[in-house]
Symmetry: C2
Subunit: 141 residues, 2 copies
């Protein structure tokens, strides 16, 4: 995700108005590597702007996702987590505390379809996400 200033320009270029609420979401997410849910972002924003609604936070987050600035990460089937780090990286999820950490992994190679049919040229692979699961250092101690 770019800086709040750059996002301001980007939003305007896409006919999206830059409101104080949206700016607060930009700032709440900027440099964050904890993969917060919308609720968490909402709480963070409300510390400075107590009247912002959860609905508005969802809208700003969805705009950021639509613009490709933020990744929506589904790590379980609870709430979606939002990730302002859009450089290629993967995730480690702790079974105990649920914390999601950024990790770097070797790119997997898709070898073949398993179901009998061979993976033919017709397939197009755009992206690959890896989720490692286990126990983090804090929970292992």
């Amino acid at each position: 995700m770019r800086t709040p200033d750059d996002l301001t320009a980007l939003f305007r270029a896409n006919q999206l108005k830059v409101t104080p609420q949206r700016l607060a979401v930009f700032e709440a997410l900027h440099g964050d590597d904890t993969h917060p849910t919308a609720e968490v972002v909402h709480a963070r924003v409300r510390e400075r702007m107590p009247t912002v609604s959860l609905r508005t936070v969802y809208q700003a987050l969805n705009d950021l996702v639509d613009l490709g600035e933020v990744r929506a990460v589904s790590v379980d089937n609870g709430a979606v987590r939002f990730d302002p780090n859009n450089s290629g990286h993967d995730h480690f999820v702790c079974r105990d505390c649920g914390r999601v950490s950024d990790v770097t992994a070797s790119r997997p190679r898709l070898v073949a379809a398993t179901g009998g049919e061979v993976l033919d040229e017709g397939y197009t692979v755009d992206t690959s996400e890896i989720i490692f699961r286990g126990r983090c250092a804090a929970c292992n101690a």
Copy 2:
């Protein structure tokens, strides 16, 4: 997932009764590689037993997951999909039709934590799941 016969023995060994409803879920899932949701399994079961409730299907599926016979696959944040194939494999999700296909991929190696802190010995990695996204052959044609 084992055969319905083996599952019968397994369920009994775990003090779980083998009812016709559970047997129908076993059979609906046996050899299936389409990663159906609970709703889909329910519909399939009701073709033969019209009175089975969705609640009962969820219970049977959760029992199978708890026993490690079925994998619960979260590929987006819609409904969970159930996978009777518990041999190590990964998944390809078509952006267009949503179909989930089994694939084989090279095991990724976790290289390092990204956040600055080095991935130390304290971490324990149990499993890794890979999701490839793109377009399947049918949707590319």
